[in-house]
């Protein structure tokens, strides 16, 4: 586990308006804090609104930009889901998703 407390976080205006409408800014902050401590090789977090598509309502995606640690078993996402399931009620869980963007540029 890496501690990357200072990684930059950007939140789009649309995502923030959506989160404020739900009254879930505190929950977002808890998620960002958790991601900073849980995601190995984290470089930055980009919080955006995923517009409603034909099968899904709008929701917030936390794109975690991170080092690519290879194709071996990486439990990060499953650990994240375990934490979300144990921490937040369904109405919060259904509005937020964490997804990775793997960077293999050797930095």
């Amino acid at each position: 586990m890496s501690t990357t407390a200072m990684v930059p976080v950007t939140i789009s205006r649309e995502a923030l308006a959506f989160i404020d409408r739900l009254g879930q800014r505190e929950e977002l902050e808890a998620m960002i804090d958790r991601a900073r401590h849980m995601v190995p090789g984290l470089r930055s977090i980009e919080v955006v609104l995923d517009a409603a598509a034909e099968e899904m309502p709008a929701g917030v995606v936390l794109w975690t930009h991170r080092d690519d640690i290879g194709l071996g078993n990486d439990p990060t996402h499953r650990n994240w889901i375990d934490w979300m399931a144990a921490t937040f009620p369904p109405d919060v869980c259904q509005s937020f998703t964490l997804l990775p963007v793997h960077h293999d540029d050797g930095r």
Partner: protein
């Protein structure tokens, strides 16, 4: 055919050589889990809605279940659905798909969620608890 057969196709696509392969793999991984969840819900006595509403139906039944394993499976389905949105609808946004890495992760997550659903369904006591935790 069952939903899990699509995981094999997701694997083949993840081994492909282009961004189009990797984006398509994500969709197969999502549908593999969706169909397995729908099959389980039908097996447990729930009536599934018309086709355009099955995505929301499957996701919310599990996310709102009080059984923690069902909730985990629901959240995995939610994440795969969001990733599928990016893969299929946001073609200008290339950053999540520079390599096969995210397709392999999606396939692995889908496979793990199907295995968890199988384990739960195979144990009568666990199955009864899980079924009872799903909102009507």
């Amino acid at each position: 055919m069952d939903g899990r057969s699509l995981i094999d196709v997701a694997r083949e696509l993840a081994a492909g050589s282009s961004e189009a392969h990797w984006r398509s793999s994500v969709g197969r991984a999502y549908y593999a889990l969706l169909h397995e969840v729908l099959a389980a819900l039908r097996h447990w006595g729930f009536s599934t809605p018309p086709r355009d509403r099955v995505h929301t139906f499957a996701r919310l039944k599990l996310v709102y279940a009080t059984d923690i394993d069902l909730k985990r499976i629901g959240l995995t389905l939610e994440a795969l659905g969001r990733l599928r949105n990016a893969a299929d609808y946001q073609l200008a946004q290339s950053s999540p798909f520079p390599s096969a890495r995210i397709a392999v992760s999606a396939m692995t997550d889908s496979e793990a969620a199907v295995a968890l659903l199988d384990a739960l369904d195979a144990n009568p006591a666990r199955r009864a608890t899980a079924m009872g935790s799903i909102p009507p």
